[in-house]
């Protein structure tokens, strides 16, 4: 029977590298995909993943088990994403990045012919999702991420973002409004 997150945290705190490895392996893919959707490219997603788990490692002793480990992990991911986004903005300001900050750089353009069909389908659906996510600012993207992909409640999201529940709902609705398809796009999608 697999150990719970809390047991693995306790094991890692006791010095078990195995427990630490299991804990990371259990959540790394989720965080990497979260990073991909938030930052829009694999490099930043990987940076974020490393930063998140470094943050987990540094504050592991502060995890008291009062909150769910996943929620605690998302809180760290949330804060790291905000930090990383801020750094990217500064990079854009100093001319180190183009205006979109590397968002939507799926690396798909160079590779499609080499990918098996099912991967292509996955890449296509991911590209569509990224295209929608790229339409909204990070603060709204974070709400969408936590609501749609991580199934958090608006109350949990509000606590994480230190905003009111109503603001969280408004951000979510505003984001969806910006991401909805125009009627002609809807039509084109149906045809495809």
């Amino acid at each position: 029977m697999s150990k719970s997150d809390e047991q693995l945290v306790a094991g890692a705190l006791a010095g078990s590298a195995r427990a630490w490895r299991q804990l990371v392996e259990r959540h790394e893919s989720r965080i990497y995909n979260l990073g991909y959707r938030l930052m829009g490219n694999s490099e930043d997603a990987m940076d974020l993943t490393q930063e998140v788990f470094l943050g987990v490692f540094r504050s592991l002793q502060h995890f008291r088990g009062e909150a769910n480990f996943r929620t605690w992990l998302f809180r760290i991911a949330h804060n790291k994403a905000v930090d990383l986004n801020r750094k990217k903005k500064l990079l854009i300001l100093t001319g180190g990045l183009d205006e979109n900050g590397g968002y939507d750089d799926l690396g798909l353009r160079a590779r499609p012919e080499t990918e098996p069909d099912h991967d292509l389908a996955a890449l296509q659906s991911n590209r569509q999702a990224l295209e929608l996510l790229s339409r909204v600012p990070l603060e709204q993207r974070l709400v969408v991420e936590l609501k749609i992909y991580q199934s958090l409640t608006f109350e949990e999201i509000a606590q994480m973002q230190e905003i009111s529940v109503n603001t969280a709902k408004t951000r979510f609705y505003a984001a969806l409004k910006k991401m909805r398809f125009a009627p002609e796009e809807e039509h084109a999608l149906l045809e495809n």
């Binding site: 890692a12 590298a17 569509q128 749609i148 409004k177 909805r180 398809f181």
Partner: protein, 420 residues
């Protein structure tokens, strides 16, 4: 026409704990409302597309295992066995020292141990010295968002970015805007000069056209004149403007407290006089309507007096408003000028401070730059009232300035400042 309930209903539609009754109500409304139905379909479409995300495999990485083993592994071993791990501990310690960029220095008789990336560390230290040199009033509490501060970030490959938050950014330099045309000024809720707002005038009964019954009255001509001379609303508008300009004048430091109080009194007196004379005109109008005599000399004289007083009040109020408008525009221009001078002075102090401290950034790679973002100190544009002022200094220029090869003014000139 779009449904006015769409936003509220659909925002609630996605709530976690939507009561069944409310869900049913929303669904009923959506069924009856084509706008909401279309909007909901599109929102669902977006949510569906997002839900199609396929998990991407994560590239191989080390999972911070080396770090973990270096810092935590075997922490549970008893102290009795510690000696067995002495060599490994020493290795882990060395590794940890390397990993954490720990530096140990023996300087001036004291041992200094510090952690972190030396460039980031120096950047923080540099930011602190710069804040001191600029005379910023920094707060010990890092969460005190109102305090002046410099936030440093080191971006590998780009250089050092220092965000300077000065109180100058919050100085009320260009606001509030001077109203464009007479009558455009309006008082907002919570306006500190709300006491300057004139009381809403009571209906005088003379401001509207004569009624059909009035045309048959004996003092028809006087009633007609009474309806034409009423300038109470004009005086009222001028008083509102005068109050608004007085506030602008005060906010732009164009008047001291005592003189502002005098202005307030003057405007208040005008307001009271306007109210009194418009009341008298109303009473006279009523009297004219009720009067059945044909004698009208006393009415004529009373109307002449009221007309004279109203004209005088109008010219007083309009002159005062025009004078205060001129003074407030001039005070705002002076204030903006002073603000620009203060920003320029800050920029000069910044250049001098950078010259003095620049040598500390010797570790910065040759091609990296130092970007200083003066938050909120850029030139405002109609679209963006608050912009940042950005200076970018080449490392070589800083070193030259530190060595005395160029002066701070040249350093500032080479930083090519721009607003963004």
């Amino acid at each position: 026409m779009p449904c006015s309930r769409t936003e509220h209903l659909l925002r609630e539609y996605f709530a976690d704990d939507l009561p069944p009754v409310m869900r049913a109500e929303i669904e009923q409304h959506v069924a009856d409302c084509p706008d909401c139905a279309a909007e909901l379909r599109q929102l669902h479409g977006a949510a569906h597309t997002l839900g199609q995300w396929r998990e991407l495999p994560i590239p191989r990485w080390n999972r911070h295992l080396a770090l973990f083993r270096g810092e935590r592994a075997d922490a549970s071993q008893g102290w009795r066995f510690l000696w067995q791990w002495l060599p490994a501990t020493a290795c882990a310690l060395m590794f940890g020292l390397l990993l954490l960029n720990t530096s140990v220095l023996y300087r001036a008789g004291t041992l200094e141990i510090s952690f972190g990336n030396p460039l980031s560390r120096n950047a923080d230290d540099f930011a602190g010295r710069l804040a001191e040199a600029l005379g910023l009033e920094t707060a010990a509490d890092p969460f005190d968002l109102t305090a002046e501060r410099i936030h440093s970030s080191y971006l590998a490959g780009r250089g050092l970015v220092l965000e300077v938050r000065s109180n100058l950014a919050t100085a009320n330099r260009f606001n509030p805007a001077i109203p464009d045309s007479p009558g455009a000024a309006s008082l907002q809720d919570g306006n500190p000069s709300a006491m300057l707002a004139p009381t809403k005038l009571r209906q005088t009964g003379a401001e509207s056209d004569l009624t059909a019954s009035d045309t048959r009255r004996p003092h028809r001509d006087l009633l007609l004149r009474a309806s034409e001379i009423n300038t109470a609303e004009l005086v009222n508008s001028a008083i509102i403007e005068a109050g608004e300009y007085a506030r602008i004048l005060r906010d732009a430091d164009g008047v001291d407290r005592e003189n502002f109080e005098q202005l307030r009194e003057e405007i208040e007196t005008l307001r009271r006089q306007n109210l009194a004379v418009s009341d008298r005109l109303r009473d006279l109008t009523e009297e004219l309507r009720r009067s059945t005599t044909t004698e009208n000399e006393s009415f004529q004289a009373a109307l002449d007096t009221i007309t004279g007083e109203m004209n005088q009040l109008r010219s007083q109020a309009q002159d005062l408003a025009a004078d205060l408008r001129r003074r407030s525009e001039s005070a705002q221009a002076s204030r903006a000028e002073r603000w620009r001078n203060e920003v320029a002075s800050l920029e000069q102090r910044l250049a001098r401070a950078l010259c003095g401290q620049g040598a500390r950034l010797g570790q910065l790679p040759e091609r990296e730059t130092i970007t200083i973002v003066l938050t909120g100190l850029g030139e405002p544009t109609p679209a963006r009232p608050a912009t940042d002022l950005i200076h970018t200094y080449a490392r070589s220029d800083l070193i030259q300035c530190a060595n005395g090869a160029i002066d701070p003014a040249t350093l500032e000139e080479r930083s090519n400042p721009y607003s963004n």
